[in-house]
Symmetry: C2
Subunit: 401 residues, 2 copies
């Protein structure tokens, strides 16, 4: 019933036969710089390995299958995803080991996952309640399948996940009676920890995950010889990795880190978090580098000191911070640093940029913008452009949001 | 270079052979209710006609070609769009009269538009500066084409558009020397008007548009016998329509209204605006009705009074207001009104909903949510589901963001 043609010209498309970003691309366009991208994939893989952990990058950030491939080629254990349809998208692009870091809810979503398992996927999802566990058991038993689940440990005032040991025991007792479910590990997300001392809170939470997986092993509650234990977004990954490493889990478990945003990093939220990581680890070698930018034209210069940029909320995220101008490209001149210019406002299709009252900025010039938190920029694009240092487009990467 | 398969299973997809939204669809899903949708298309068309204006609905809101077709079938003059790639998407789906309510900037974007004109599109875009006008003239002259442009009238402190008559005269003098450009009308957007008395401000702005188009006619500066005059989003459309009607423009101009959000309306921003329209027009017959909702599952009930819903910023807009819970669907029970429940927080893939501490809400139940401002919900979806009153899916509508 869809009327979309199969070969659509998307925004950010290459126009004509050239490959130069500033001339041959319909702007605005979302751009990945190849060198920092490859650095990040390699750096985080190495970080995990040095801490005796495997990497299951969260794919929800980019939903870009070609990046999943690069992450797997670098040594990732599998790809983490947030929803059943995201898992379908990853599997259709050859990702066979899928950690859905969420509860699986609804018959249609269960059906999608059952199809994946039948087609050979190694799939894991979370449970945090008896009701959902029973619904899953009924569904997967009817399909003649077993579903691998992990118990999510949550915190009071947090998001999903069981809150305490009473709930843990209740859930374990229920799972013991549900033959279509295999309990394969323990999951947590430290990003929802609050309180005065976040570092102590994250460390205590990691210890609770470790303690729980060990207790479950002792009780023979886990179906895998080396059950999964997983946590970590892109902000506190060092603390989680250290805790797993200190506990020396690698012989008894499969410790998994699953940061997502690290792959393209950012210009503020995660840039600041990286500074904190470096402060905590003065000897750290290398670091994450921002790889995602959005390029756009100056559309109008209606008043001194104001430029309207052809870039809006449809093209770039503004949560938690407005986009940040980075560089100004004017034909025949070297790029100029404009990080001291400020964004006044962002509308659906327009950005208001404060610029110096006297400037030779011209309509048609190009500006690059960085973001704070990359997830809500990626999902604005059906394709992103991989570029080299000379801003030539190396590859067009389709997204699957 | 894209690796996306041609027949992707998107989020919100029908799963299996049934068509019942609450059972056969992978939730979350974006849903259009057919009855209010058809009401809105018909109502705004009638409103424009009664005021002697044509309707050029802004397509950027939905970027859903099947809705463009319905708007055109109801009598719309053409479709308004915001960018060159949006125009390409509309044209590829059979929309031949395109009003790009923006400046056309960048060689790649000009090339896309030149291709459309060569393929038969009736295309209009805006100019507000000599520099851009000259660049357009050079490009389209080289292609052997004429480009139809309209002058955008802006306001001090506003967005694009010339600010005053001095700038108007400068631009007119330049356009007179640019043979590849045809000046075809005057454009404005009243949504950027500020000040104490917005109603008086919008009326004065409409009068300035009318006065300007008449002056240009007298000076023979316009290439069309009935030049275009256009303004109006979905908030102040009544004031713009009245001003055009009072000026009795229809014999000398083509007055165009171009609201976009009206087609699905909303549950807050435009719902409030509609109340204001009704207050200004106590005799108004009929009204706009909300047609867009997002349906999602209860994913977890981790604490009394808190439900985590499988719905996030990846699925629903939260600008300017958080999503609003509307109805609760539990199998075997009639839908219940939950508009008094409140959203605490929205993350990328999760929504925190405050619910009564004692409730029989269950994991797997379905909730529908409304939005404030529909644009930033539409662009989260590659397809939206058109449903009838019984919540059966009537059609899957592809979007082209």
């Amino acid at each position: 019933m869809s009327t979309a043609p199969q070969t659509a010209l998307e925004k950010g498309a290459l126009v004509g036969s050239g490959k130069f970003l500033l001339r041959d691309v319909s702007l605005p366009a979302a751009v990945l710089h190849e060198r920092p991208l490859l650095n990040n994939i390699s750096w985080m893989q190495g970080f995990a390995e040095r801490h005796g952990a495997r990497l299951a990058p969260h794919g929800k950030t980019t939903m870009t299958p070609r990046l999943f491939h690069r992450q797997l080629e670098a040594g990732a254990w599998g790809i983490t995803l947030a929803t059943a349809t995201q898992c379908v998208a990853a599997f259709e692009h050859g990702v066979t080991r899928l950690l859905m870091a969420n509860q699986l809810v609804g018959a249609a979503n269960m059906s999608l996952v059952a199809d994946l398992i039948e087609r050979g996927a190694e799939f894991y999802c979370l449970v945090d309640g008896v009701e959902n566990a029973r619904a899953l058991n009924t569904f997967f038993a009817q399909r003649g399948l077993r579903l691998q689940v992990m118990i999510e440990l949550g915190v009071e005032g947090g998001r999903c996940g069981i809150r305490n040991d009473v709930e843990l025991d209740t859930l374990l007792a229920a799972l013991a009676e549900l033959p279509a479910l295999s309990l394969t590990g323990i999951e947590g997300y430290e990003g929802i920890i609050g309180g005065q001392d976040l570092i102590a809170g994250v460390r205590a939470y990691a210890d609770r995950l470790i303690d729980t997986v060990r207790r479950l092993k002792r009780r023979n509650a886990l179906a895998l010889p080396k059950p999964l234990i997983t946590a970590s977004g892109s902000k506190w990954f060092d603390l989680i990795a250290e805790a797993f490493d200190l506990a020396d889990l690698r012989d008894e478990c499969t410790p998994l880190l699953r940061p997502g945003c690290y792959v393209v990093h950012d210009h503020k939220l995660y840039a600041d978090a990286m500074e904190d990581v470096k402060t905590r680890h003065p000897d750290l070698q290398g670091e994450l580098m921002p790889a995602l930018e959005v390029f756009a034209h100056v559309q109008s210069l209606p008043e001194p000191g104001l430029a309207i940029i052809a870039l809006g909320k449809r093209d770039i995220g503004c949560d938690p911070d407005l986009p940040m101008p980075l560089r100004w490209y004017s034909e025949g001149k070297p790029p100029r640093d404009v990080r001291d210019w400020t964004v006044r406002n962002l509308m659906d299709q327009h950005l208001y940029l404060s610029v110096p009252a006297k400037t030779d900025l011209a309509v048609g010039d190009v500006l690059s913008f960085g973001t704070s938190h990359p997830c809500l920029t990626f999902d604005k694009w059906r394709q992103v452009l991989l570029v080299d240092d000379a801003l030539n487009v190396v590859e067009t990467l389709a997204t699957r949001f």
